[in-house]
């Protein structure tokens, strides 16, 4: 028994060390730092305890307020759009067609690459002044648009990058769609429900557990989006795509305000926590965890 415990402990030790070192410690350290005026280039001992001063500072920080607004806009626009887009593609890829496996793979590919720096770089070329899109516009006889140079269109380009990464949500939706028993649709067919009504009355309600999961994941990920604005727009122009994670990064590693940056991280953390909590609280009103089980068949 003792031996088993020892061996078991050895297996989990790497994770526990990693967790303590790279998750728990930074988590606590960032909170402590957020209560100080620590600067990146100084000795940590030089930092002074400033209480909630960093948090107070945000109230008067126009850049923070701008960034917060941009972040909310980004989240509120991308999350519903991405969920809808991922669901649409999942529904299409759920059709029983010849070669559908190929298309499922093909549609998933952007997500493997989508979040990477490489795609963000490609995105920058696509939306650049002499980029692919403007060249295509030129061929069609339209004038080019300064995609990354205008506040509205710069945001548009990073929103589009997010939608481009619909694959992971799509795959989860697809799994959810496959879990809905075929005979429910057959029963609805016999009852005369159109495909559209079947979607609204059967598919969507039965997909709500998956929708809920995807919603939480997307909220969390969207609030943490960094690659897009960092590589494509650098947060600009006029801070129009200056998402909070980018501001946190710049405060820490560009302006060396480690304390303030940590405080911003904690604000972002609390915002995500609140959104997640509200979502969890709301699920009893719209999520149906009621997959039909056959209790007479025994095992589940």
């Amino acid at each position: 028994m003792y031996n088993n415990k020892l061996i078991g402990s050895m297996y989990v030790t790497p994770f526990i060390i990693g967790f303590l070192l790279f998750t728990a410690f930074p988590f606590i350290a960032s909170f402590v730092l957020s209560l100080t005026d620590a600067r990146l280039q100084d000795q940590l001992g030089a930092a002074n305890f400033t209480g909630l001063a960093n948090y107070g500072e945000m109230a008067g920080d126009a850049t923070f307020q701008k960034s917060l607004g941009v972040t909310f806009f980004y989240v509120f626009v991308t999350v519903p759009l991405k969920l809808a887009f991922a669901l649409l593609i999942a529904v299409i890829l759920n059709f029983k067609l010849r070669g559908i496996g190929f298309f499922r793979t093909a549609f998933y590919l952007p997500s493997i690459l989508g979040g990477s720096v490489a795609i963000a770089v490609v995105w920058r070329f696509v939306f650049a002044g002499d980029g692919l899109i403007n060249q295509a516009f030129g061929v069609l006889g339209f004038g080019g648009i300064n995609w990354l140079g205008e506040p509205d269109t710069a945001m548009f380009s990073i929103v589009l990058l997010r939608l481009w990464q619909f694959g992971s949500a799509m795959v989860v939706f697809l799994a959810g769609l496959k879990a809905i028993p075929e005979d429910l649709y057959e029963a609805a067919d016999i009852d005369g429900a159109s495909r559209f009504k079947q979607f609204w009355m059967i598919t969507l309600p039965l997909l709500t557990p998956v929708l809920f999961f995807n919603f939480i994941m997307q909220i969390v990920q969207a609030f943490q989006e960094f690659n897009g604005p960092y590589i494509i727009t650098a947060g600009g122009p006029l801070k129009s795509s200056y998402l909070l994670p980018l501001m946190i990064y710049e405060e820490a590693f560009k302006y060396f305000n480690l304390g303030y940056s940590s405080a911003l991280s904690w604000v972002l953390f609390v915002i995500i926590a609140i959104f997640t909590a509200v979502a969890f609280w709301s699920q009893k009103h719209w999520v149906f965890y009621a997959q039909e089980r056959d209790d007479n068949k025994g095992g589940h």
């Binding site: 429910l184 067919d189 429900a193």
Partner: protein, 377 residues
């Protein structure tokens, strides 16, 4: 009476593999017809073709004298009860029953009234506000039936509706379905692999095997006059005993069989056979009796196993010189018998069945018992 459902040479192939091989069939109005057969015989496929969930490769399907071969399921006037019940898990019992009516756009008051009426018939009224997961298997089954009844279809289709229930509940629901059919008098097509369900529920049984019909008839017709070995074996529990014997002589009203234990003379007409032909002698377990001491017997053997079910006893008797398979005899619950006991068996020769080498019934029983119609509870 008009035909409610008519199939004409219906064939269905999946990926070049023919699973329904030309089925023609008529179901009369108000009849409860049971498709029965082993798994993979095509009975569920046939039902799905009638429902419109699949389309036949060739042939025609008429429902209420309309050609519905390629019609959408909702345009056929059918309602279906699925094996899995197919209840919408996110809807209450009331919403499940009301679903089709709401889709039809019926006024709310009318929907409510119909749901209430159906719930009353099926004793679901106290459960209307519940979701399917809060129901027992039998209750779910009733909801599934309710969902079909509420639409007042021309034809009810049942796809193995009781196979997910445990044995006692199955018996109970079987009685309920029979009672419901007697009350509503609706045309029904019922698929099952359980011959007991088929025997007890059906006005007419269709025995299917490997995509074609083996025999159609009333339950007692199939029991008394199976057209072939397949039906003979499939209908009846325990199964009919089949013994391999040789024809030793066929006259107008009798046929003489040569068995390893001597000759047996069976009253039977119309037997066309050549002496020496190998044929199958079919004996139902209840048509074999243990001869009393000193009483003459047709066959001899010894008991290898006794199954006591309380009300009745099944004795497995190995017949002398007949090979390894014992015959099963159905006896009374009190039958005084023990293992290894040497017994003589009397055979109700006038109830014996005979099949040729191809498995087809050979001749007719003499003065075949009149048909007994299907009774309803």
């Amino acid at each position: 009476m008009t035909n409610s459902v008519k199939l004409t040479d219906v064939k269905k192939s999946f990926n070049g593999h023919e699973v329904i091989k030309g089925v023609s069939l008529e179901v009369k109005k108000g009849e409860l017809v049971v498709f029965v057969g082993p798994s993979g015989c095509g009975k569920s496929t046939l039902l799905r073709l009638i429902a419109g969930l699949d389309t036949p490769t060739s042939g025609e399907i008429h429902i209420s004298n309309k050609d519905v071969t390629y019609a959408h399921p909702s345009k056929r006037g059918v309602a279906m009860v699925f094996q899995s019940y197919a209840l919408y898990p996110h809807m209450t019992v009331a919403d499940n029953i009301a679903f089709a009516l709401k889709i039809q756009g019926l006024p709310r008051a009318e929907v409510d009234a119909k749901v209430a009426e159906v719930a009353e018939i099926l004793q679901l009224t106290p459960l209307l506000k519940r979701r399917p997961k809060a129901l027992s298997g039998g209750q779910r089954q009733r909801v599934a039936i309710g969902r079909a009844i509420v639409r007042q279809p021309d034809v009810f289709l049942f796809d193995e509706p009781l196979s997910n229930l445990d044995a006692s509940l199955r018996g109970q629901m079987r009685v309920e379905i029979a009672r419901l059919h007697a009350k509503l008098g609706a045309t029904s097509v019922y698929v099952t692999h359980d011959q007991v369900e088929a025997m007890t529920l059906a006005d007419k049984i269709v025995v299917l095997n490997a995509g074609h019909i083996e025999q159609v008839g009333s339950p007692m017709e199939l029991y008394r006059r199976p057209a072939n070995l397949f039906v003979a074996r499939f209908i009846g529990s325990p199964n009919m005993n089949i013994l391999s014997v040789k024809v030793a002589g066929a006259a107008a009203t009798t046929v003489t069989l040569e068995t390893p234990q001597g000759l047996l003379e069976i009253p039977r007409t119309g037997v066309v056979a050549t002496n020496g032909d190998t044929v199958s002698l079919g004996l139902r377990p209840e048509n074999l009796h243990v001869a009393a001491d000193g009483e003459a017997s047709h066959l001899k053997g010894h008991v290898v196993l006794i199954e006591r079910l309380g009300g009745e006893t099944f004795a497995y008797v190995a017949l002398k010189d007949f090979g390894n398979d014992p015959v099963i005899i159905k006896l009374s619950g009190e039958a005084d018998l023990h293992n290894h006991q040497e017994v003589g068996l009397r055979v109700d020769l006038d109830r014996a069945h005979l099949f040729d080498a191809q498995g087809l019934a050979l001749g007719q029983p003499l003065g075949a018992a009149p048909d007994v119609g299907a009774g309803h509870v």
